[in-house]
Amino acid sequence: MTSFDPHFVRRDIPLLERVINDHAITYLDSGATSLPPRCVIEAMTRYYELRHANVHRSVFQTASEATAAYEGARDLTARFINAPGGAEEVVFTKNTTESFNLLAKSWGWANLHDGDVVLLSEMEHHANIVPWFQLREERGIEVRFIPVTDEYRLDLSHLDELLNNVKLVSVTAMSNVLGTINPVRELAVAAHGVGALIAIDGAQSIAHGPTDVVDLDIDFLAFSAHKMLGPTGIGVFWTRAELLNEMPPFLGGGGMIADVRLDGYTPANGPTRFEAGTPPIAEAVGLGAAVRYLQGLGMANIDAHEENLTRDALQRLEDQFAGRVRVIGPNNVVNRGAVVSLDVEGVHAHDVAQVLDQFGVCVRPGHHCAKPLMRRFGLSATVRVSYGPYSLAQDTDVLLEALEHAVKMFG
C-alpha cells in the first residue's frame, strides 16, 4: 500500500510516450477520460486473440471462457464498490449517461408520478439533468435543484424545505467542473429521513478515491470505465438487489428475456434484464483489468497523491497568476478532488487551450456539460485541468509555463 509511485504508473501508460508539437505530452484531461495502462489494453487484446465468442450462449470452450471473463468483470466491479449483493447488483451499460437514463426511464418511470419531486443540484452534469427533464415531460414530476454557494459548495441551509415531496435525490459525488466533493453520506441520511432514495453520479469520484456503497448508504450509483483507466463503451449502474428486481426492463431484445412467445415476453431477472443484445465483452474485460490495476495502486494512495497535486497547483496558481487567472472551485483541498477549472482574465477558454496544445498540454475548454452551473457563475467556458494517478507536479510546471504564453498572446 505504501509503495505507490506515480513514476511507476507512468511507465505503464503507453500514451504518455506520445510527442505533441515537439513536446512530450502533458496530459491534464483525466476528468474527461483517463489513460489506460498497458495491462488494460493487453487484457482486451488477449481476449480478442484467444477467447472472443459471444457470452451466455454457446457451450464451446472459448465461449465458456468469454462468459467467465465477462461475469468475472462484473464480480470484480461489485467488490470494487462493495456491492452488498455482489455481482447480481451490477448492470453493465454504455456509460454514466446511459446509467442515468436507465435510472430515469426504468426506476423513474415505474415509481415517479405527478407531483413527485426529483432533487438534483446546480452542479450536475447534463447526464443527471436531461433524463429528468425528459421524464418530467412524460410524467409531470417536478425537478428541483440544490443551489451552489459562492464558495462552490452545495447550499444545504434550506435542505429540509427542498426535500418536501422528494422521492429521489440525485447528485454528483464530485463536480466535474469545480472539483467539489459533496457530503454524500449526509445527503443519504437526509433523503432516507423523508423516505426518498438517493442516486450518486460517481463518474468523477470513482477513480479518485475509495467508493463503498454500503458505507455511503446510497441506493443507486453510476460511473464509466473510461474515467477509471478502463476502456470507453462500458459503464456501470449499481443498485441494491431488491430495487433492481423491481425495475421494469429498459431496452428490449435478446439477452434480457426469460421467455418470448407469440403473445408476449417475460423479462429475465438480475442484471441481464437490462443488458439487451450482445454486450461490450472486451470492454468488460478491460474494466476488470482496470479495477485490478487500481486496487493494486490502492485507492487511498491515489487519493493522497492527487490531493498533493491539487494543493500544489492551487498554491502556484495563486502565487504566479493571482488577478489574472481565477480558480472556479474551492481554493483549498478540503473535500475537493483533482479537477481545477480556470477562468483566464480576458482570454477565452478555447484560445487558452489552443495555445496550451502547442506545448503538448492537454486540457479541456468549454462548459463541461454543466451549463446550469456555468450560468450560475456567469461563465460561458472554463479551462479545466484534471489529474490522474500518473500525473506529476512537473505537469503543472509545463501547464503554468504555457499559460504564461497564452496570457501574453491575448493580453
Binding site: N21, H348, H350, V355, S380, A381, M409
Partner: protein
C-alpha cells in the same frame, strides 16, 4: 509555433480586440436572431436591418473565443450595405473556405483554390481549417446570419 500563427493572424487578433459593429438594433424593426455553439457554450445575437433587398445595418452581441468573435466582426464589415444576393454569396464563399474533406479535393487530390480575393480580409481565417475543432467557432456568426435571412424570408 507556425501553426498557431496561421490560426491567430494579426488581423484576427485586431478584430477580436476591437470588434466592429458591436451592439444592438431596435427590434422590431430589426430582425433579431440567436446562435449557439453547443460544444463550447458560445452565444451570439445578430441584428439585421433589411430594406428593399439591402442589408442596411448589422449589429452583433455575444461572447466567444477570438476566432468566433473575429469571424463575426469581419463578417459584419463584409456584408453591411450589401444586397441580400451579395450577402448570400459571401456566406457561400466563406463556408466553402471553411470546408475541409473530400468535397474540396480535385481528382488529383489537390485542394481547390478558394477565391480568396472575393473574401477580402476574411481570407485571414483560412488557417482555421487546419484546426477542424475550431471551424464551428468561425462559422457560428455566418450560420446565424444565414438563419436570420431565412427567417426574414418566411415572415
Amino acid at each position: 509555433m507556425s501553426n498557431l500563427e496561421d490560426l491567430y493572424r494579426e488581423i484576427i487578433l485586431d478584430h477580436y480586440r476591437s470588434p466592429r459593429n458591436r451592439g444592438e438594433l431596435p427590434s422590431p424593426p430589426a430582425q433579431r436572431v440567436e446562435g449557439f455553439n453547443p460544444l463550447c457554450g458560445d452565444e451570439i445575437v445578430v441584428y439585421l436591418n433589411i430594406e428593399d433587398g439591402v442589408l442596411t445595418d448589422i449589429k452583433l452581441t455575444g461572447q466567444g473565443c477570438s476566432i468566433s468573435q473575429a469571424s463575426s466582426s469581419m463578417m459584419s464589415s463584409a456584408v453591411k450595405g450589401k444586397s441580400l444576393e451579395q450577402v448570400r454569396d459571401a456566406i457561400t464563399s466563406f463556408k466553402q473556405l471553411m470546408t475541409v474533406h473530400a468535397s474540396t479535393l480535385q481528382e488529383n487530390g489537390q485542394p481547390v483554390e478558394a477565391d480568396l480575393r472575393s473574401l477580402g480580409e476574411l481570407a485571414a481565417l483560412q488557417g482555421v481549417v487546419k484546426f477542424p475543432v475550431r471551424i464551428k467557432c468561425a462559422t457560428l456568426a455566418w450560420n446565424t446570419l444565414s438563419q436570420g435571412l431565412d427567417d426574414q424570408l418566411s415572415n
